[in-house]
């Protein structure tokens, strides 16, 4: 939950303004653009973590061992 709020704040004021500039360019993208993509990847990792730490009650045992 805390990570979720942190990511949300990363996408808006007050955190995003800290990374809103153009320099440094990352992989050819301005920092403001790259930051948003980082946040998106962050959301993906958060969801992945939710999923992997989920007990998966209904799935077969082989899936649980993941």
């Amino acid at each position: 939950m805390a990570i979720f709020i942190l990511l949300q704040l990363g996408l808006i004021w007050p955190v995003y303004p800290l990374f809103s500039g153009i320099e440094p360019m990352i992989l050819g993208l301005p920092l403001s653009f790259a930051w948003i993509i980082f946040m998106l990847i962050g959301c993906f990792l958060l969801l992945l973590w939710y999923f992997l730490s989920d007990p998966h009650i209904e799935s077969p045992p082989t899936e649980q061992s993941r």
Partner: protein
């Protein structure tokens, strides 16, 4: 043979494949409401992923996304920002929604809320709200499709014919196959769009500037368009002045809150095969969001190369007519843009008809009309009716319908507090929910029409949400909760 004939031929081929993919799966689902609206609750990961992804990426993404990047620079990152977190709540609601649907036979969002809050009025209000936001949405998709066909045929095919043919295909498969038609065509259309978007998004900066990095460096250093201002978040507002952090943040927040409760999106949870399918779809969803990156690159690539194109939303077709691209590629891009329009249009059409009948009309019909078979026929009738209304607005009427759509995110976001209350707050009751929803919608609409009344320049939906939550909480606390068994069903779902 003229060039545009080949391009149209490719688009025609695409339409034919879509039609076939839309009709075939309809033969395998049962002839019931659950089959038509929720695909017999049998969608696997692949289908669900593309249905959810492709129905969000509409004409707006393909035409509006590059348009924003082109005219407003970093403001366009808003589109990626709200989708990133907007999806996360559905990870928690989705499986609950699915299980309740399976157990009690629900197929729409309003049915769930009606049952939990024991209020028919709530269901009817939600049905009306859904149709009010869906019709302009569908109209814009049709306009987009018509526009693409007209532009590439150099005016030989008028807009009414282009929109008509594309949406006749949609009408046929939605009418015939219901949600499974939407599912299979979206899978095909989604893949198609992704390939096209990545190709163009990387090709254009390479061709025009010699690379993505080089492109951004040139934009940032360009003095006459104030490029550095443009690339610094949050970019420019619609009038070309720098956008405020208030405006950007509140717009992202409202859209993110509304994202997971859009009726056509939310109700796909009922179609999921299992909880695991549902959860995995959400986990993988950000990969669909990544597809917006090349879309925005397309818009950025035009800033220096083609200044002054008006309106900004026409930038993608404009680039296509300017570049010396092989004719087959142009054909594919146009088909890709059609795919974007149709894959959202079909989901919206299907949901609008289902919600309109199940949650609106059915409440006023005598019992003998409310059989499964009759309702299914009514939904199909609504599919035709809603297509015709949207088509009328798209090609005949000149009512500025875009304004309606602008307000829709603020309106839809008002459903969110109710959904949270439904699952996580025992005290939440029907009176509170009704008051909150109505209050929130009224305030949102009011501030949308009179923006100068806002105390601070926040998105109107934020004010609506504040009023919504205050009313919902206070009235729920002041009145009796719903019956214990009902609450438990949802809290423990």
């Amino acid at each position: 043979m003229e060039q545009w004939v080949i391009i149209l031929g490719i688009c025609g081929l695409y339409l034919a494949i879509t039609l076939a993919m839309g009709i075939i799966p309809g033969r395998n689902v049962s002839n019931s409401i659950s089959g038509y609206v929720a695909g017999d609750r049998s969608m696997n990961l692949l289908l669900l992923y593309f249905v959810m992804g492709a129905s969000i990426f509409s004409s707006f993404a393909f035409l509006g996304g590059p348009g924003w990047a082109y005219s407003r620079g970093a403001a366009a990152f808003y589109i990626i920002a709200y989708g990133a977190t907007g999806m996360i709540p559905l990870y928690f609601f989705g499986p609950k929604v699915r299980r309740l649907g399976e157990k009690h036979g629900f197929v729409t969002q309003a049915e769930l809320l009606e049952d939990r809050f024991n209020s028919q009025s709530l269901s009817v209000i939600l049905a009306v709200l859904s149709i009010v936001v869906f019709i302009p949405y569908l109209t814009l998709q049709m306009k987009g499709a018509g526009y693409i066909i007209t532009t590439i045929s150099e005016g030989a095919v008028p807009q009414w014919a282009g929109a008509g043919v594309a949406y006749l295909v949609v009408l046929v498969y939605v009418f015939y196959s219901g949600v499974m038609g939407v599912g299979w065509t979206n899978t095909f259309q989604g893949l198609f769009m992704m390939v096209i978007a990545w190709f163009l998004g990387l090709y254009l900066p390479e061709k025009l500037y010699g690379g993505v990095g080089e492109m951004f460096t040139q934009i940032a250093n360009s003095p006459n368009i104030n490029g550095s201002q443009m690339l610094t978040a949050p970019g420019l507002a619609a009038d070309g002045t720098p956008w405020s952090w208030w405006g950007f943040s509140s717009a992202v927040l409202v859209s993110a809150i509304g994202f997971s409760v859009w009726p056509h999106f939310f109700m796909r949870s009922f179609a999921a095969k299992s909880d695991k399918t549902m959860k995995l779809t959400i986990v993988l969803y950000p990969s669909f969001q990544l597809f917006l990156v090349p879309i925005l690159l397309i818009g950025f690539s035009a800033i220096l190369a083609y200044p002054g194109v008006q309106p900004a939303d026409t930038i993608l077709p404009f680039i296509l007519t300017q570049l010396e691209l092989p004719v087959v590629i142009i054909g594919f891009v146009c088909a890709g843009a059609l795919a974007a329009s149709m894959s959202s249009g079909d989901a919206i059409l299907h949901s609008a008809a289902s919600v309109g009948v199940r949650d609106g009309l059915a409440k006023f019909l005598p019992d003998r009309w409310n059989t499964d078979r009759k309702q299914r026929q009514l939904i199909r009738l609504f599919v035709i009716l809603i297509s015709l209304i949207a088509y009328y607005f798209a090609v005949v009427s000149n009512v500025p319908i875009v304004n309606l759509l602008l307000g829709s995110y603020g309106g839809v976001a008002q459903i969110f507090p109710l959904v949270v209350g439904m699952f996580y707050w025992r005290q939440a009751n029907g009176k509170g929910a009704l008051a909150g929803l109505c209050g929130g919608i009224v305030v949102t609409v009011l501030f949308l029409i009179y923006p100068e009344w806002r105390p601070v320049p926040l998105h109107e939906g934020i004010y609506g949400l504040i009023v919504n939550i205050i009313l919902f909480v206070s009235i729920s606390l002041a009145t009796q909760p719903e019956s214990e068994s009902q609450i438990n069903r949802y809290i423990n779902a």
